[in-house]
Structures are given as C-alpha cells and as structure tokens.
Symmetry: C2
Subunit: 177 residues, 2 copies
C-alpha cells in the first residue's frame, strides 16, 4: 500500500465523518472492501480512454459486466458521461432488475445527472475515487455531492464508498494553467 493509497483511505474517513453528522441520512457510507482497489483500477483504465478522463465499471457477482468512459465529444452527446455509458452498456445485456445487486465503480464522484441515474437504476452500492470537491479544482462541477442526493432520496438506501485510488484518478487531469 503506497502513500497515494493511504491518502485514498483518509478520503473515505472524511466522507464518512461528514455524513455521520446527519442522522436522517439514507446514504450508507461503507468501508473499503478488499476488491475495491482492483475494480477502481479498471474504472481508471476506462477513464484513460475518455474524451474527458472519467471512467466507470459495473460489477456483479465479482465480475465486471459493463464498462464506460466519457464519450461526450465523440458521440456529440453532453450526457455521455462515463457512468451513463456504463449504464447504457449494462442495459444492452441485462434487465434493470439486475442493477439491484450491482456495484458501480467510477473514477470521479458522480455528478447530479449520474447520481440520479444510479438511484433510478437502484444500484446496491457506488464507489468513487476523486470527490467532486477534488474534481472542481480541475474541471467545472455542479456543487452537490452524491451523499447529498442519496440523503434526499426517501425510497432507496444506497451504499456509498468514496476516496478509493483518488490520487490516481486525479493524476489523469492536467494542473490548471
């Protein structure tokens, strides 16, 4: 475990601490699992292929069943974020009911659009690397976190883990000039 991994771990703690202040939260902040770094590395590999460096994988029964990377420029579609592409690819081969025991790994914390999609799909768990506040130092973000959206959702309790390999995900972005 190198220094960057340790930094990723501290990110998770910060997120969990921030949320624990809100007792009514429906988002369940969960610890990093043994397999999370492996699958997040695959999401980061997807990000390297993107028009903007964001990527995602969907995992079910311990296997990657769909992948996606930001394709906004090549598809001329501003909604083609990494998470949305992974969801579209998942739906080509799976029924929507199968989201309910799936985990989405994404190199960047989902924006409101993607987090909304993740909730409507009823994913069991979502794991992100770089947080929205980290990403906002590099690229324009809508300043609402995935935990805030989960907390505002009365009909679903999604598990969220943040900060896994966040330093690696941030390295995909050039420093602001």
């Amino acid at each position: 475990m190198d220094r960057r991994t340790l930094l990723g771990g501290s990110g998770v703690l910060l997120a969990a601490q921030a949320l624990s202040l809100k007792t009514e939260a429906r988002a369940v902040m969960t610890p990093v699992l043994a397999e999370d770094q492996h699958f997040m590395q695959l999401a980061i590999e997807q990000a390297k292929l993107g028009d903007f460096p964001f990527g995602a994988v969907i995992v079910r029964d311990g296997k990657v069943v769909a992948e996606g990377f930001n394709s906004g420029k090549r598809l001329h579609d501003p909604t083609a974020h990494g998470e949305m592409m992974a969801i579209r690819h998942f739906l080509e081969n799976h029924s929507p009911q199968e989201f309910q025991d799936a985990t989405l790994y994404t190199s960047g914390e989902p924006c409101v659009m993607c987090m909304g999609a993740i909730i409507w799909c009823r994913f069991k768990r979502m794991v992100f690397a770089a947080s929205i506040s980290e990403l906002a130092t590099r690229i324009g973000q809508i300043d609402i976190t995935s935990a805030q959206i989960a907390k505002a959702t009365p009909f679903l309790a999604i598990e969220i883990t943040g900060g896994v390999l966040s330093a690696e995900a941030m390295q995909l972005f050039p420093e602001k000039q």
Copy 2:
C-alpha cells in the same frame, strides 16, 4: 385564463420568491412568456403517452424540434425519463451547440438526473409544470429542486420558469390510494 392557469401563475411567484432569498443564485427565475402555455400543453400531450405520465418538448426558434415521454418500462431503461428522451431525440438531428438557444418544456419539474442533463447540455431556458413537491404527493421523488441544482452550478446561468399548467399536469396522476 381559468382558475387553474391562475394557480399555475402563483406557483411561479412562489418559486421566484423562494429563490430571491439566495443572492448568489445562478438560476434566473423568469416570468411566464406568452407562448409557454401552448408549448406546455404539447409537453402534457407527450406525458399522456408515457409509461409514467411525464413528457417534454424542446423548442427552438418558436418550433418544437424534439419530443419525449417517459419510456422506462417499454425500453427497460430506468433512465428513460421524458426529458432524457427529448434530449436523445434532439441529438439525433442537431448538434449539441444548438441546445444553447433552446427551451425545454417538461410536465414535471426535472429530477436531479434530468436537471443535470439539462445543465450539461447548456439549455438557455427550462419551463416546468408540476413541481417536485407537488409530484412527491403522487410518486417517489428525490427531494432536490431544479433551482437548487442550478444554484450549485457556477458555470451556467439557466433561466427557469415553474408552475405553467401545473394543475393539468397533476391531473395525469391518480390520487394516492
């Protein structure tokens, strides 16, 4: 102008008043325009075709250029909300740059997913009928308004008008049993 239209008008005022308290808001609440009822009626006609009664139209240069209705069940796609379908149909025939002088009319205030998509597409204006708080009396909603999302977006000032024909849009939903 009938009673329901007047109610719709008061909805706009309430939304504008609530937002005016937040001076840093990037959402620009705009008054109802002469053509809004006509285009909202078309969005409501779309809603009548939906798997759930939500519909949208996209207007550019005074003409409807794309339509959409909720197709979640028939497409087996939980992200196929009315607004997302209208955006997908728009992109089949238009470049994303053309969103920048377009208005989206939707029978229900956009959820976080759809409002995120509307922002990433950089629509000039969004007009809704029934508000999220009204819709939540009939069907599960994520409790974050379109104005809250617009306010959290530093890179875009989208115009928002709410409450146009909201009573007509609400009539599409059965009363809760």
